[in-house]
């Protein structure tokens, strides 16, 4: 301690120099993006969460294929209609992990107090949100798409010869795998927007789980005639837009993959608008 003290007296005047000779710095969008990327890389929790989501996505997908046995009525995934349904069964759990990743990206800054440093450096604020959303979208898109392919290809061998087997060249398979990656990336973005909106990790995760997993359950207590009209427009997998996006065959009463994608995009856009409004307009 005492050594640093003796040193600092000199450095304070030498290091800070005159104000005239100081270089001009400038905040640009590219720099904010780089800073957010550095933040992403420098936190262990982001790596762990991302790793867990990939593990769930690939592990559960392959395990489902390995354990698949249509004769065993109580076995896992015995009701699966095709290899895509088996491989992408894992999206159900992986969405939770990537959603949490998104919530942590934004709400984590509020919970820790980091947001004060972040917004002091970027007082225009919105570039931080766009950077975070863009960054997490791309990262989760790449990782989840790779995971979806790995899940499908890893399980392919266990299913060969069985009636539900498919290959990459089968109709609709590529579409489903890419949509699975896209769906998970949107869930992450949705989580990040929710985190920015409610500024609390716990609150953000609750809202995320509520929207993607619990809304279909709430729907059951409403008049039963409502369900067919509302359910397809929910964002989640269970009878919702997300489910339509990653299914090989369009089930009756659900949206086409294209329309389902648009519906999910609207959900995400609404969350982003709310997040942007809260970030820009309220005290931090």
């Amino acid at each position: 301690m005492s050594t640093t003290l003796t040193a600092t007296g000199d450095v304070a005047s030498a290091g800070l120099g005159g104000t005239d000779a100081t270089p001009r710095y400038k905040v640009t969008f590219g720099r904010v993006l780089r800073a957010e990327w550095a933040k992403f890389l420098s936190l262990r929790s982001t790596w762990i969460t991302l790793g867990v989501s990939l593990l769930l996505l690939v592990g559960i997908g392959i395990m489902s294929a390995y354990r698949y046995n249509p004769a065993d009525m109580h076995g896992p995934a015995a009701d699966a209609k095709d290899a895509i349904a088996l491989a992408l069964r894992s999206v159900e759990l992986a969405q939770l992990a990537v959603g949490v990743l998104g919530v942590l990206a934004t709400a984590g800054e509020y919970t820790t107090g980091m947001i004060r440093s972040t917004l002091t450096a970027v007082p225009k604020r919105l570039p931080v949100l766009w950077s975070k959303l863009g960054l997490y979208f791309v990262v989760v898109l790449v990782v989840s798409t790779a995971g979806a392919f790995a899940s499908f290809l890893g399980g392919e061998g266990f299913l060969s010869g069985k009636p539900i087997a498919l290959t990459l060249s089968s109709a609709g398979v590529l579409r489903c795998l890419f949509e699975a990656g896209f769906y998970l990336a949107l869930v992450a973005v949705f989580g990040a927007a929710l985190g920015m909106l409610v500024r609390s990790v716990a609150g953000g995760i609750s809202l995320l789980v509520g929207t993607f997993m619990l809304l279909p359950i709430f729907l059951d207590i409403l008049p039963s005639s409502w369900k067919p009209n509302v359910s397809p427009y929910l964002p989640g997998l269970e009878g919702g837009a997300g489910g339509s996006m990653i299914s090989l065959h369009q089930a009756s009463g659900t949206l086409s993959p294209g329309n389902a994608t648009w519906v999910l995009l609207v959900w995400v856009a609404v969350a982003i608008l709310g997040a942007a409004y809260r970030l820009k307009r309220t005290d931090s």
Binding site: T8, L16, G18, Y25, K26, V27, K39, S42, T112, S284
Partner: protein
């Protein structure tokens, strides 16, 4: 340079900042003083644009904070509340801030050395002691080599070495012509580091003064004289650098600018009987408390002078005595 005009901040019914007006000038350390809850932190948050004023304006170096192209180069701030992610290392924290402005890595290393964080820079900031956390906050504040440095309660929880380090740093920064704005709820600390003083209480400006003037108005190093012929003694003592105050008709006088010895001698020469001759020791802390303790009482008074200045020296005032002497 920080310019604050008619600044008001309300949270629901509660008014945290109530019509503040003041300017913080470059080249000196300005103390921002007030009891806890006086609105100091809220004011600082408004300076940085973290909170939006309900009304009024805050300008930093001529612009609102968010209008600057490189805000970290304009203002470096240490806020009272922790503003770091505990999972990130000190180096990565500073680097992520530096990247937003295109501040080179070299500068990150520089401020780490400057704050004495060299050995712990790669450790998770969450494991830092309070003192190390403050140093990291100050390193972040200095990152952009800013013209204005604003620190909220920087010496809170620091050990004596840390306190001394902050004092030296602030003095050096001000000597380089920077604006240095430091909040505290300890008058004694401000008396040692600051030149100018902004005193607030319950969100209102109580005094915009200098430490020297504050000590002066608090009684300075005055002498209390009680004499039967106060009127004649007053005429006798008055001189170019001497002020004498006392209520009309009272036997009691407050004399500034003369020592008790000189007063006694003059009274003896003139044959005036003196019943009491007491050097007054100023308690800055008491003067400060008298000023901030009751805002209503202060307002009816209407001056920057403290009402409790007459407090005589007691055991607790030793430190204050040194302050005055310095």
């Amino acid at each position: 340079m920080i310019e604050i005009q008619h600044l008001v901040k309300r949270y629901g019914d509660k008014t945290a900042v109530d019509g503040l007006n003041f300017t913080v000038k470059p080249g000196v350390v300005t103390g921002f003083l007030g009891p806890n809850g006086a609105g100091k932190s809220t004011t600082m948050r408004m300076i940085l644009g973290l909170d939006a004023p309900t009304s009024g304006s805050v300008l930093v170096n001529g612009k609102r904070y968010h209008q600057h192209a490189a805000p970290l180069q304009e203002v470096g701030a240490l806020l009272e509340a922790k503003s770091i992610h505990p999972g990130r290392s000190a180096y990565n924290h500073l680097n992520s801030l530096a990247l937003t402005h295109g501040i080179p890595r070299r500068r990150v290393d520089e401020v780490i050395e400057l704050a004495g964080l060299g050995k712990v820079a790669k450790k998770r900031a969450g494991a830092f002691s309070l003192g190390m956390g403050q140093r990291l906050g100050i390193a972040a504040a200095l990152l952009g080599d800013p013209q204005t440095i604003m620190l909220d309660e920087p010496v809170n929880g620091l050990d004596p070495e840390g306190v001394l380090w902050i004092r030296t740093l602030l003095t050096n920064l001000a000597a380089e012509g920077r604006t240095v704005f430091v909040s505290s709820h300890l008058m004694s600390e401000m008396a040692l580091t600051a030149t100018d003083l902004i005193i607030v209480g319950r969100g209102k400006l109580l005094a915009d003064t200098t430490v020297a003037d504050f000590i002066e108005s608090a009684g300075g190093d005055s002498v209390k004289v009680v004499s039967s012929d106060a009127t004649r003694l007053r005429e006798l003592l008055l001189g170019p650098d001497v002020t004498v105050t006392g209520a009309a008709g009272s036997e009691e006088l407050q004399v500034n600018g003369l020592t008790a010895r000189e007063i006694g001698q003059k009274a003896a020469d003139a044959g005036i009987a003196v019943y009491e001759l007491t050097p007054q020791v100023v308690s800055l802390e008491e003067a400060f408390m008298a000023l901030t303790g009751d805002t209503v009482e202060y307002r009816s008074n209407g001056s920057t002078g403290a009402t409790g200045a007459g407090a005589t020296g007691s055991a607790g005032d030793k430190e204050q005595k040194e302050v005055v002497a310095a």
